[in-house]
C-alpha cells in the first residue's frame, strides 16, 4: 500500500524527500502556539491570578485572559478544520492524522517494532518517510480526537456566555444533552487541557530523541518540509 510505503523501493529512503507540505507545517506551528496560549490562559481561568487592587473600572485582567483564550480557540478550531481539509487534498503524509492505516498489517508490525524500541527491547532503528506508526497513532488520538473534544466542550462552554441564540449554542449546545451539568463539562474541558499538556511533553521529548537517535531528521522536517535520511542503508530495522 502506497500510504505507508511498503512497496516503495529503498531509493525513497535515501538522501532527502519532500514530506511535510507548507500547509501542514504552518498548521503545526499555529497549532503548537495556540495550544500553548490556550493552556496558559485556560489555567488562569480555572485558577485566577491574585486579586487586582484598585477600582474595577481600571482593570480588565480576567476579561482579557478570557478574550485571549477565546480568540486562540477560534484560531485553533479553524486551523484544525483547514488541516483536515488538507488531509483530504494534500499528499499521503498529510493523510496520516485523519486516517492512520489501521487496516494494514504492516502498520501494526512496525508499530510493534517502535514499541519494542521505546521499551529498550531492541536497539534496531527503522527509517520512516512520514510519521512512524506510533507517532501517527498519537497524532490521531490527541491532535484529532482530543482536539475535537476540546473544541466541542470549549465552544459549548463559550455558548453559555454568548447566549442561547448564539451560533456557538446552535452548533455545540448539544454537548449539554450528553452532560447536563455545565460544571462537569467545565471540569472535563480542564482535564482535557492537562491531557493535552502531557501529550505535548511526550511529543517534544520523542521528537528531540528521534532527532538525535534515529536514522532521519525530526525537527527540521517540520520547518522546511524535507525528510533527510542519515544513512543510505535499507529502511528495515537495523
Amino acid at each position: 500500500m502506497a500510504s505507508s510505503g511498503v512497496a516503495a523501493s529503498n531509493d525513497e529512503y535515501t538522501g532527502s524527500l519532500y514530506v511535510f507540505e507548507a500547509p501542514v507545517r504552518v498548521w503545526h506551528w499555529v497549532h503548537a502556539l495556540t495550544l500553548t496560549v490556550l493552556a496558559i490562559t485556560g489555567y488562569f481561568i480555572a485558577n485566577p491570578l491574585p486579586s487586582q487592587t484598585g477600582e474595577a473600572s481600571d482593570s480588565f485582567l480576567m476579561g482579557n485572559i478570557r478574550l485571549v483564550h477565546f480568540s486562540a480557540a477560534m484560531v485553533f478550531a479553524v486551523g484544525l478544520v483547514l488541516r483536515l481539509y488538507w488531509a483530504i487534498v494534500g499528499n499521503r503524509y498529510a493523510r496520516g492524522m485523519l486516517t492512520p492505516p489501521f487496516w494494514e498489517r504492516v502498520y501494526w508490525r512496525r508499530m510493534w517494532h517502535e514499541i519494542k524500541m521505546y521499551l529498550f527491547l531492541t536497539r534496531k532503528v527503522a527509517k520512516y518517510r512520514g510519521h512512524n506508526p506510533l507517532a501517527m497513532m498519537f497524532m490521531w488520538l490527541f491532535n484529532l480526537w482530543l482536539a475535537i473534544f476540546m473544541i466541542c466542550t470549549g465552544f459549548a462552554l463559550y455558548s453559555q456566555g454568548a447566549g442561547a441564540d448564539s451560533w456557538a449554542d446552535t452548533l455545540f449546545g448539544w454537548v449539554f444533552l450528553i452532560e447536563p451539568s455545565s460544571q462537569a463539562v467545565r471540569m472535563w474541558h480542564y482535564v482535557g487541557m492537562w491531557v493535552m499538556v502531557a501529550f505535548a511533553i511526550v511529543h517534544i521529548y520523542m521528537v528531540i530523541r528521534a532527532d538525535v537517535m534515529s536514522r532521519q531528521n525530526g525537527i527540521s522536517a517540520m520547518i522546511d518540509g524535507y525528510r533527510r535520511f542519515k544513512d543510505d542503508g535499507p529502511r528495515s530495522p537495523q
Partner: protein
Amino acid sequence: MPAKETFYDVMRKHGITRRSFLKFCSLTAAGLGLGPEFAGKLAHALENKPRTPVIWLHGLECTCCSESFIRSGNPLAGDVILSMISLDYSDTLMAAAGYQAEELLEQTIEKYDGEYILACEGNPPLNEDGMYCIQGGKPYVEKLRHMADHCKAIIAWGSCASWGCVQAAKPNPTQATPIHKVILDKPIVKVPGCPPIAEVMTGVITYMVAFDRLPPLDRQGRPKMFYGQRLHDKCYRRPHFDAGQFVEAFDDEGARKGYCLYKVGCKGPTTYNACSTIEWNGGLSWPVKSGHGCLGCAEDNFWDKGSFYSAVTNLKVAGNVEANAEKVGGTLAAAAAIGVAAHAAGTVISKATGKRSKQAEEVNNG
C-alpha cells in the same frame, strides 16, 4: 364544584378583590418577561377559561419547594395561586387527609382526565420496587405513574424532581430518580432549584393554567424566561470578575469590598437560575449579595461536584475514588514529565551499553 368554574370565580370566592386580581396579573406578566399588553390577556384568560386543576404530589423531598412557594415575596401572588391550586390535591396544604384525600385523586381523574396539571415535588426512589417512599400503602412511584397517565402536563418542582438532588447524590442507595427518567410520555417542565424562587414557581404555574400551554423551554426543559441565563451573566459582582478582583478568603479586604466570589467556589458561571435577577424573598437579597458563592443548586448533580468552596471541582478517577480535577490533571502532566526524564536516562544508558554491539552491526551491514 361546577365544571365551568373559572379561576377568577375561585379567587373571588376566596375573598380576593378584583383590584388585587388585576395587580397580580400585571406583576406576573412582568415577572414572566411578557409585555404590558399581556397583563390584560392574562386577566382575560383567568376570567374566562374553565379552571385547570392542579394536582400537587410529593415524593422523596424536604418540602422546601412548598415552603418557598407559600413565602412568595408578593403575598398577593401567594394567596392568588394558593386559592387557584389548593382546591384539588396537595398533601401538605389541603385540609383533607387519609382516604378522603386519596379519593380526591380518583375524582380528579374521573372529571378531568387528560386535563389537569401534575405538579411533582420530589422524586420517586426506584430501588426495592419503590419501597423507600410509601404513600397510602403503595410505593410513590406507582401513584406518580398512575396520576401521570391521566394528566396533561407535568411540572417538576425543584432540583429533586428535575435532577435528583441530594437523595440522588452518590451513592444514591434508594435509587432516587428524576421525573423525566420515569415518565417518558408527557411534556415536563423542569423548574430546578433547591428550592426554586417563589416568583419563578408562581410565574410558571400561572402561565400554564392561563395560556393552556407550556412556557417556552430551553434544551433541558427549563422555562427560558427564568433559566435562560446563568447567574454569572447578570451578577452585580461581574465587573469585579472581569477586572480580576476576587475574594480570596471570607474575611479579607476583597470580601469587605464585595469582590467576585469565584475563587471561593461561586458556581454562578455554570448555574442557570434567576437568583441574580429576581433575587430571593421578594427581591430582598440572594446568596452572592449576602457574600457567599452560589452552590449551583439548580444544576444537575450539584452535590457530587466536590467542595462548594473551590472553583475547580471533583472528578471520578476510578470506581468510587474521587479527586480534584486540578490534582488529577497536574499529576498526569507531572507523570508525563517524569516518565520522559526517566526514558531519557534509559536512552543514555542503553546507548552506552549498546555502543559496542551496534558498531559491530554497522560493520557487518557495510
